[in-house]
Amino acid sequence: MLQGKHLIDPEDFSIEELGSILELAEDMLNNQAKFKDVCNGQILGTLFYEPSTRTRFSFEAAMIRLGGRVIGFAEPGSSSVMKGESIPDTIRTVASYVDIIAMRHPKEGAPKYASYYSPIPIINAGDGGHQHPTQMLTDLFTIKEVKGKLSNLTIGLCGDLKFGRTVHSLIKAMSRYENVKFLLISPNELQIPEYIRTEILANKDIPFTEVERLEDVIDSLDILYMTRVQKERFFNEADYIRLKDSYILDKEKLKLAKDDLSILHPFPRVNEISYEIDEDPRACYFDQLKYGMYVRMALIAKLLGVA
């Protein structure tokens, strides 16, 4: 039962609970009419202490499509009432008015702290560079929809694998499914953190290979998850010049890939996916945005216990 629970950390839910959310999201995607009133009379509070229009729109559209309504603030400056108020006070106030809260905050652990004082479900909509569990749900649902399965896949993760939290969550989540293989494509200084290598991958005997260049492995991938590499993250200029083009997906590299590759990206992008491949059927990152909304619909409905 997910009713009344919080979602703070991507690992808060069991694999069965995740499965039930993905199943409901798929039902919602295919049978929208059936769910258009399930949240009738309920209100989602969106507490965005830092602006993230993309994530907020996704949550708000999700609630509205379930027949519910939304109140909230988009940044703390726009709400003098909440300014300078403690998190427990704000949460107790808002929880008197709404039925469920999506909270984004620049400080790590703020949604967890909020959850201790909340009588209603809290969804972590991103806490600094720490956790972003609904992105993980979005990624899982996208893979399930585009591949029809979450097992027997070779997944390439490309770019900044050291600081990219969505990458870490995705590896943790996918490592729970059968026969998944990872190809980790990054400059040496931006490889996955040691705890992921040892505790998650090596410990569970999950096959993984670390390489420097995307073009060397792209032909073996079922999924390619692209992330941005910032120039400042490189230790030296020479490496940057040698490798920078290896982390940009363009038509040339895509020629080497399988016909049924699926390209994902957590968005927003800068230049790591060239615009020329947006029309390629293998580009799934716009569908991923849509799937993100459906999986948030399913999450809200489960936590409210209405579907």
């Binding site: 400080k107 652990g109 703020a110 702290y113 720490h130």
Partner: protein, 142 residues
């Protein structure tokens, strides 16, 4: 040597590193005690050269779990009928609240005024704790 009567019932917190006795005394709120307490500092010790110790009379239900975090070499004896009835082996507590602070400037604890810093023991052997909010690692060093 200064002589303090042995107690018939109570707690003796012994082998406190010399100099640390007063902070433990205060941590246990013994300055507000309504029972007899003795803080002895710089007592001679075979093991430590010098040590501090605390004797508490007629009270045995103090929460001493955090002493293991402060210094696991401390020994705690529970006395009843002038005999040691229990020696408590201190170990690193599973949770530590309000003693150490998270050093991560991005942690919610750096912003909220009344928040209690909370750490959870991850690895007992190496004394590794993790901030309950932001997962920042704290390594215990006795």
């Amino acid at each position: 040597m200064l002589y303090i009567d042995s107690i018939s019932k109570g707690i003796v917190i012994d082998h406190i590193r010399a100099g640390a006795g007063f902070s433990i005394f205060k941590y246990l709120d013994l300055d507000k005690a309504d029972f007899t307490v003795a803080l002895i500092i710089n007592a001679p010790s075979k093991k430590l050269g010098k040590k501090d110790l605390i004797k508490i009379e007629n009270k045995i239900d103090l929460d001493l779990a955090m002493l293991g975090f402060i210094d696991p070499n401390i020994t705690v004896n529970i006395i009843e009928g002038e005999k040691i009835v229990e020696k408590i082996n201190l170990s690193l507590p599973r949770r530590v609240e309000g003693i150490i602070e998270c050093k991560n400037p991005r942690c919610v604890t750096s912003m909220e005024r009344n928040i209690v810093h909370k750490f959870v023991l991850m690895d007992e052997k190496d004394g590794v704790y993790k901030c309950e909010y932001c997962d920042q690692i704290y390594s215990w060093e006795g």
